[in-house]
């Protein structure tokens, strides 16, 4: 599904964000990307949804060389990728329902499609009851669920999560990760960048460890630290 081959990223400032990273992630896999701040986790995710292009190396998504994609085709790549952020990025003047529906609106969906897909997505994240609430009326965990519902509403095969639990307390974080794990069991590939040791150690999924831009470890059922 996602394939990185000798990927390096050097920012214009000269900072080497990724250094010769090769990685393969199969369809339906759940994979943690761990490492301290500045280790290149976000950069790696940004390469996949073409927010960045590699300085050298290849990034292949679903058989397509992402860096070769013309700018006009990038939106169609992103329709196959759901993205979840640490800071939720919900629109404050829209209800939960509208926030999720917004992702369909901008893809040119019909009203009927919207009314079919939004409730399914909200049920999936367990927020069917809160559809009419505004983001500020929700807890952090609930806001993150809305963000996940929005990322999934279009049925993408891949979900990228950039520190999705960074702003949440440990219990809520665990709930969110369980939800993501459940989503991956339905066939969605989930890639989660995190530095939450507790979660990684408890879930025991594949762990890819970056240190200052270099891939130092790739364990199929790993823990946060080298065991």
């Amino acid at each position: 599904m996602i394939h990185l081959e000798g990927v390096s990223v050097v920012y214009p400032s000269g900072v080497q964000a990724l250094n010769d990273v090769s990685l393969h992630i199969g369809r339906g896999e759940f994979c943690f990307i761990v490492g301290s701040s500045g280790s290149g986790k976000s950069t790696l995710l940004q390469l996949i949804y073409r927010e960045l292009s590699p300085t050298s190396g290849r990034v292949v998504f679903d058989g397509q060389d992402v860096a070769q994609l013309p700018a006009a085709k990038v939106p169609f790549l992103r329709r196959k990728i759901g993205i979840v952020f640490q800071d939720f990025r919900l629109l404050p003047d829209m209800t939960v329902w509208e926030n999720v529906g917004f992702a369909l609106d901008v893809l040119g969906a019909t009203r009927r499609e919207k009314h079919r897909k939004v409730p399914i997505s909200l049920e999936l994240v367990g927020l069917g009851e809160k559809a009419a609430s505004f983001p500020h009326e929700l807890s952090g965990g609930e806001q993150q669920r809305v963000c996940i519902a929005r990322a999934l509403v279009n049925g993408p095969p891949v979900l990228l999560c950039d520190e999705p639990t960074g702003n949440l307390d440990p219990d809520t974080s665990w709930d969110i990760v369980e939800l993501l794990s459940h989503i991956s069991e339905t066939g969605t590939t989930v890639l989660m960048a995190t530095h939450d040791k507790y979660i990684v150690d408890r879930l025991r999924k594949r762990v890819v460890n970056l240190v200052r831009g270099t891939l130092v470890r790739d364990d199929q059922t790993g823990t946060y630290d080298v065991s």
Binding site: I83, D105, L107, N154
Partner: protein, 291 residues
């Protein structure tokens, strides 16, 4: 495009206008003032040209034929000049008749006095601005003794018209620049106010044009509204001026036909729309470069 999509784009564009009504009004006012001034310049220039054309119609070049010259040959020679629209041969007898008619003389008396007039060829030019040059050229054609035209009036009107056109272009360029800047700045404000939405749109895979369309619509709205205000203002003023001129300035006849006014109004409106589109696209290009 589904109905839902159309509603979505329209609501995006209109929410920006509702969110910043004063900014929108300022932009519309700017477009309206600029277009009104440009429109006024255009009207003055059009009218001066109209007057010059009227003047030029009556001010044909009169070419006096040498005795014994063949009028057909001379006419053919004159028609070789591309600037000549047409010629008309007038015999000295006809010329005398015309003269008698014009001044209400007794034709028989004039004839008895002996006809002093030469045979002439009247030359009509397509562009009144060329009349002087054509007359000079006609004077050199073999068989023509003298070529003259009631000059100066046409020339003077055309000189003024040229001045109006040039100053109109200068003022117009400045106004256009100012208007485009104002529109692109209001679009920039909207883009800034909506940066979160734009970011999400980009991330969930909205196409570039889908993201840009609401801003384009907003700019178009400002341009068209400004054009509408300008068209109504200038046309109302023009109609009043025309009525006033008719009553008080007999020698000035303003160019007014319904067709012309409709065309002029449509032109102002269209110019407004173009301003809106170009201004917003400039704003989009400048501030949404990554979209």
């Amino acid at each position: 495009m589904s109905l839902n999509t159309f509603e979505f784009l329209a609501s995006q564009a209109s929410s920006a206008i509702r969110r910043n009504p004063m900014v929108t009004i300022a932009a519309i006012t700017n477009v309206a003032v600029a277009l009104a001034i440009l429109g006024a310049f255009a009207l003055v220039a059009i009218n001066l040209h109209h007057m010059a054309a009227l003047e030029a119609q009556s001010a044909v070049i009169t070419c006096e034929l040498d005795e014994g010259a063949d009028p057909a040959d001379v006419e053919a020679a004159l028609l070789l000049d591309m600037r000549v629209k047409g010629t008309k041969f007038v015999t000295r007898d006809q010329a005398l008749e015309n003269l008698a008619k014009k001044w209400d003389f007794d034709l028989n008396v004039l004839k008895a006095m002996g006809n002093p007039l030469p045979d002439t060829i009247l030359v009509y030019v397509s562009d009144p601005e060329e009349i002087g040059a054509v007359a000079d050229a006609a004077g050199k054609v073999e068989g023509i003794g003298k070529a003259w035209y009631p000059e100066q009036i046409t020339e003077k009107i055309l000189t003024v018209a040229r001045g109006v056109k040039i100053s109109g272009l200068v003022v117009g360029a400045i106004l256009i620049l100012a208007t485009l800047t104002v529109i692109s700045t209001t679009i920039r404000l909207t883009i800034y106010a909506r940066r979160r939405e734009i970011r999400i749109m980009q991330l969930v895979g909205a196409t570039r044009w889908f993201i840009r369309l609401p801003f384009l619509l907003e700019g178009l709205f400002q341009g068209v509204m400004g054009g509408l205000v300008a068209a109504i203002g200038v046309m109302t003023g023009y109609i009043y001026l025309e009525a006033y001129a008719e009553q008080n300035l007999q020698f000035v006849s303003l160019y007014t036909t319904t067709d012309f006014l409709v065309l002029f109004g449509a032109g102002v409106l269209l110019t407004g729309a173009v301003f809106g589109a170009v201004g917003s696209l400039a704003g989009i290009r400048q501030y949404l470069r990554t979209v």
